[in-house]
Amino acid sequence: MDFFELVQPLTDKLFRLAYSLIPDDLQAEQIVIDSLNVYLLKEKKSILASRDLETLSNKDIQLARRNHFKGILAYMAEIGVRRSTQLSDQLKRTRAQEFVAFFNLEPKVKLVIFLRYEFQFTVDEIVDITSMPRYEVIEKLHNGRFLLLNDMNDGVRP
């Protein structure tokens, strides 16, 4: 098994997070590639040092995959949030028709909500991935939850 085989099952998940930050197929794909590229450049030494994947047990392979996943997500969090902020005007014009409440959230809130409720990361793992302080992660989770549920309740009201 080589590095590509190790990380390729993550492709769909990486795309989903990227798309949640920027609801545009091409932009989201570009974020996936850019995040992977930065991860490869920054972590090349450690990746090459641990390349002997043939000797790993299934459990260790899962663990290695999860670690690489979190590593790539850390760069995606940075790149995706920055690009989402830069493209906010353009995104307003081409706003998605579905999941409007979610796409209206600020990028960091979307990121934290997605990591917690879609990928099931714990708050501590989200702190590691996003490099945000713990209180900020908790605050963004709280705000996101409040805004999403409130928006839905408003929609239901006559």
Partner: protein, 108 residues
């Protein structure tokens, strides 16, 4: 009277911790304390269930987009190319240099 007020305060403080418990943001000590409280207050489980339902509802408000099979394959190919290009080991000898160039040419 004082005991009743204290019990109500404890009850409310644990009520406030339900979401944090479900979010996994409680410290280990707080989590153990919370679970111990729930064990002694079975009626509390109904409130946890309500919050769990709220979280399920929340999950349905999050977009889960998937790529078409073709786009997924194309993205995987781009990732493969990045890995091939960026994880290349530097050749240590002249023979390795030739070997790497040969492999690169074959993989074109």
């Amino acid at each position: 009277m004082m005991e009743k007020t204290q019990n109500t305060t404890t009850y409310i403080s644990f009520q406030k911790k339900i979401v944090s418990y479900l979010d996994g943001s409680l410290s280990n000590d707080d989590k153990s304390e919370f679970e111990a409280f729930v064990r002694t207050h079975p009626e509390f489980e109904a409130q946890i269930k309500t919050k769990e339902d709220e979280i399920s509802l929340l999950k349905s408000l999050i977009p889960v987009m998937t790529l078409s099979k073709e786009s997924l394959e194309s993205l995987k190919n781009e990732m493969k190319l990045s890995i091939l290009n960026l994880l290349k080991e530097e050749p240590k000898s002249f023979m390795e240099k030739i070997k790497f160039s040969w492999e690169e040419w074959i993989n074109r």
